[in-house]
Amino acid sequence: MLKRFFGKIGIAEVLLFISVLILIVVVAVPVLLILWTALFVDGSLNTKDIIHILSQPGTYEALKNSLVIAGGVTVLSTIIGVFFAWLVSRTDLPFKETMKVLFLVPFMLPSFIGALAWKMLLSPRSGYINKFLVDIFSLDASPFNIYGLGGIIAVETMYLFPFVFIQVAGALERMDPTLEESARISGAGLLTITRRITLPLMLPGIAAGALLVALYSLAHFGVPAILGTESGIYNIPTKIYEQIYQSGGSFVAIRTGTILSSILIVAAGLILYAQNLVLRAGRFQVIAGKSMRPTLLKLRGLKIPILIFSLLYIFITVILPTATIFLVGTLKTYGIAFTWENMSLQNLKYILFDWRMTRDAIWNSFYLSLAAAMITMVVGVLISYTIVKMKVRGKFILEFLGVLPFSVPGTVIALGVILTWSGKFGINLYNTAWIIFVAYIARYMAFSLKSNSAALEQVDDSLEEAARACGATHWQSLRDIVIPLIKPGMVAAFFLIFLPALRELTTSVLLYGPTTRTIGVAIYALNEDGETVYAATLASVALVIIIVGQLVIKRITRTTVQGV
């Protein structure tokens, strides 16, 4: 009897068990603990405290701000994203391929570094653009003030609109142009076609992109922290941070955090559910697999003005802030003019070699990201393989758990990790690098799952079955066939985790201890302490690493695509 039972346990069951275990420990337990701590005190439902905390003006304001910011960013990103997507795929705009790449650049740049740059350019006291305009037009006061809801919305939009752009441009390219052509033959004008045919067909793509923006913005920490806190504007993540930071990590503050986090979890869940509905509704879409050449709208006289406008947009949103960070990073003190005498590489030498704090931060970020990326990549393969390829009972648990990481914002992960790994279960990782490591795994598991599942779905079952028929055991077929074939997906997953983790702020800012600052935390702290120049220098280092990393990815993905 016993032998038969164990005989039934094959590789499938073992893999399923390990995958479920990892997901439960790393993702499910922290999230459940947050909900539990928020809702229950001493085992009974705790409505009084919840109402009390939610009715406090501070938390209420934070909720409102989160909604306003997310709403504004979503609307603006959608408009900008759809407009540029349409421009590069349906008009005769020159240099379209280059423009397409340029519009995606903001994707790779960390938005909090962007916020830092815009603070330097548009802060009312010392912003370079403000000072410049005041000098030229001899104004009495600065014309712009980046601190505030408007500034936050504008800066977030610059970095989030690619979500919409990429979805819509992709859908427009895949759409069967005969749909539009047949409308044309029926006598509809280009405007009517756009309004009645193209736009409705694009709606699922637009909605999917917009919901991603909303999800991201709602739980975003960096930009509101840099541009809002100064003037007392908090959203949910910055409020959670402020509460915990001010009270030195007291349990009351953490409880408040869990209640706010629960709201984020529910909101994220709803958004992902809505996105699922939209995407499923969009399935009927008649999008042809082969891309054909659609009729392009001739811009005629508007061609050059629109090109200039687009280039200007890219200059203002990408080049200007990036250049500002690099330039300010070389200054002797913040606020002085950019002249050769004022600029040097002394700062760089100082933060890279001389200053313990920044040196440690770079080292911490480096090894934490590297380790987290490696582990998450391997575990992601394991879990994706079980989800995509295995026929095993109980898989639905894994499928459910596998979706969870997608919907948990960074702040929530940080709080959950604090609750789980601060001695509650006999393991106390608080103030060590381990707690950040665990949090990174939870935070980036979704990336690994997505990348590896996509790669695995490309590997036809028959390839593996052919190996089995050739006499390979399950493990041998994995080693010889599956793993080599999904290697590009694994490498992509590695970099998709390594690069964002390297500049991570939202999660680490709640978890760092005296010796475990990361690059993101260090930049943030330097900026808070008024060390704007050093913040910029460190940010330049981060930017260089990111740019080099992106180039490496490009290279790797291109060579592997050719090789297979």
Partner: protein, 367 residues
């Protein structure tokens, strides 16, 4: 080499019975084909034999070895069954060269290097791929990839070869060539081949015996290609094996008329079929070239609806009452008969060879 024996095998997929109590024996060295419309479960049978799926009931033997058994709770994994499998989509590993693909089974069997290399080259030669050993799959045509898949399945000298529609992705010329090569390989190696296809032409060409399956997964007939084609067991098999005409008959004024028309069928009816024909349960069936168009309009007549020129043959659609018959004739014969027919002409019909089927079989959908 080995025989394959299935005893009362059944397979349930998500509460749906796909294969129900299938028993069949394929003798050692035979080329046996499962022929059926898509979705009839013929691939499932192959996957059960290969061990990719577990049986829901019954037992499977390869040679004397019990490889799958529900009652005894045995499921030998595919790698221990000593089989070669060729898939519809080739399943040639894209990251391995031709040589690396073919040698893989030998590496798995831990055959010494020199012997493995020799056998790999031999297998590649057998499928006429010598000289292309170091190509990568993306540098090969579909037919070449299929040869690699064949060589890979052959190289380990398996007991049985399972082929799942391996030719359906190839164009007509290549299909014919590969068909020939599979037959040649079997003669050379004597391996037992189980072939699965929906293409009756391929089945007739390569098999020694064929099992025709209906959409519900039941075997309607097992026989040699000759038997299947010339003596179909029922209307389903008859219809599945090619273009077919079914003639419902009715007795009027002591004469046997075709359908609701006045055309008389001037043929003897086998005595045991008369009752069925009288009650409408039995219908006659014939192939397009078993109907001859003549000028003699005394018995059966029809109106030419359409004439299509198909190279060496002419394809007619002939209306007999409300029935439409498919008729084909060699262009030479048509000319020698002096028939210069136009659409709309009325012609006489002579029936050469008639088969008799139960009516419900002829109604069976063929997809």
């Amino acid at each position: 080499m080995a025989q394959i024996r299935l005893e009362g095998v059944s397979k349930v997929y998500g509460g749906h019975l796909v294969i129900d109590n299938l028993s069949i024996t394929i003798p050692d060295g035979e080329c046996f084909t499962f022929l059926g419309p898509s979705g009839c479960g013929k691939t499932v049978v192959l996957r059960l034999i290969a061990g990719f799926e577990e049986v829901s009931g019954g037992e499977i033997f390869i040679g004397e070895r019990l490889v799958s058994s529900k009652p005894k709770n045995i499921h030998l994994p595919p790698e221990q069954r000593r089989i070669g499998v060729v898939f519809q989509d080739y399943a040639v590993w894209p990251h391995k060269s031709v040589f690396q693909n073919v040698i893989y089974p030998l590496i798995m069997q831990q055959i010494p290097d020199t012997e493995a290399n020799e056998r790999t080259r031999e297998a590649i030669r057998q499928v006429n791929m010598d000289g292309l050993e170091h190509r990568m799959p993306f540098q090969l045509s579909g037919g070449q990839q299929q040869r690699v898949a064949l060589a890979r399945a052959l190289v380990s000298r398996p007991n049985v070869m399972l082929l799942d529609e391996p030719l359906s992705n190839l164009d007509a010329n290549l299909r014919e060539e590969m068909r020939f090569e599979i037959t040649e390989l079997r003669k050379k190696t004597g391996v037992t081949i189980l072939y699965v296809t929906h293409d009756q032409e391929v089945a007739l060409a390569i098999s020694e015996r064929i099992a025709v399956m209906d959409p519900k997964g039941y075997i309607r007939q097992i026989g040699t290609p000759d038997e299947i084609y010339e003596k179909p067991a029922d209307g389903f098999v008859f219809r599945f094996m090619g273009i077919s005409n079914f003639l419902p008959l009715s007795f009027r004024d002591g004469k046997m008329c075709i359908g609701n028309s006045d055309s008389v069928l001037d043929r003897e009816i086998p005595p045991e079929k008369i009752d069925g024909v009288r009650t409408g349960k039995t219908v006659a069936g014939c192939r397009p070239y078993d109907v001859v168009l003549t000028r003699d309009k005394t018995s059966a007549i029809g109106v030419l609806k359409r004439i299509i020129y198909l190279g060496p043959i002419l394809d007619y659609r002939v209306a007999v009452g409300s029935l439409e018959l498919r008729v084909q004739q060699d262009i030479e014969d048509a000319l020698s008969e002096g028939l210069h027919l136009q659409e709309g002409d009325t012609v006489g019909l002579r029936f050469l060879d008639l088969l008799w089927f139960e009516n419900r079989d002829s109604e069976q959908e063929v997809t």
